[in-house]
Homo-oligomer: 144 residues x 2
Amino acid sequence: MSKKQCSMTIGVLAKAAGMGVETIRYYLRRGLMAEPEKPYGSIRHYDEQALARLHFIRTAQWLGFSLDEIGGLLTLQDGTHCDEARVLGEQKLTSVRQKISSLQRIERALDGLVQECCAQRGNVECPLITSLQDGLENTRLLPD
Amino acid sequence: MSKKQCSMTIGVLAKAAGMGVETIRYYLRRGLMAEPEKPYGSIRHYDEQALARLHFIRTAQWLGFSLDEIGGLLTLQDGTHCDEARVLGEQKLTSVRQKISSLQRIERALDGLVQECCAQRGNVECPLITSLQDGLENTRLLPD
DNA sequence: GTTACTCCCGTAGTCAGCTACGGAATCAAG
DNA sequence: CTTGATTCCGTAGCTGACTACGGGAGTAAC
C-alpha cells in the first residue's frame, strides 16, 4: 500500500491528501510542516512522512483542535510527553461535551417550536416567530 | 415590567440588550433593524420593539441561524408564513442533529484516546499522538 | 524547441460577525 | 456657556483557515 521511497511534488501530495496545494503551502508557512529538502533545483519533494503529517492535521482538526493547538500537539510528537498530550485531549473532550449539551438544549428548543408550528397550522400567529420575539422564555431553554 | 412609551438612545438600548453599540449599528447597516425615526436633531431613538428585535436576533443566533437566515425569518414576521417558518426550523433542526451526532463521534474518539493515554502511562509511545498520526483507523470513527 | 503544465514566492482577498477609530455634531448637567 | 459624555458616519481592522492571483522559473512530453 505505502511505497517506501515515495517522492512527491506538492501537487501530487495535495491529491494524495485530498486537499489543495495552497492549503499545504499555508501549513508550511504556519510552521506545521517542516520545509522539505529540494533535491533538484528549487522544487520541493515530499515523502510519506509529510503525508502522515497532513493526516495528523486533518484528524486533529476533525477532533476540534485549532491549527495553533495542533502545532502544540506536534511538539509532543516524540512520544515522551504522553501526560501533556492527555491533558490537551481531556480539555478538548470537556469542550466537546459542553458543545454537545448546548446543542442538545438547542435541539429541544427548536423541536418544541417546530411541533407547535405543526399543531397550530392555520393559525394567524406563528408560534415559532412569536417565541423568538418573546425570547423563548416559556421554553426554559434560554441561552447561557 | 415593560414601559409603553420607552424611548432610548443607542447606548441605553445596547445596555438593555446586553450588547455593544457598534453591534446594533452593524445590524442597522445589515438591514436587520428598521431605521428608527430621529425625533430630535439627528439622534436616533429606539423603543421596546427595537429591543424585542434584538432579543429575536440573539435567540435565533443561539439556535444556530446566521444573520442572513435571521433576515429571512424576519420577513415572515407578520405571522402569515407559519409554514415557511416551520420549514426553516425543521432544516435547522436537521443540521443541529447532524452536528450533535458528529460531535458525539468525536467525543467517543477523544474519550478512547484519553483512556488509552491513562492506561499506558509510562510507555514511551503516546497512543493519542500515534493515533493521530495513523489517522484514527483503529477507532472506526473516522471523519466524514 | 515549443508548448503546456506545474512549481515558486509574496501578497491580497474571502467569509461572518463583529470591533475599533477618528473627527464632527449634539445633548445634558452644572 | 462650558465641559464631558454620547451619538453620528464612514471606513478599516480583527479572527481563523483558507483561497486566489500574478509573474517568473522549472520540467515533461512531443
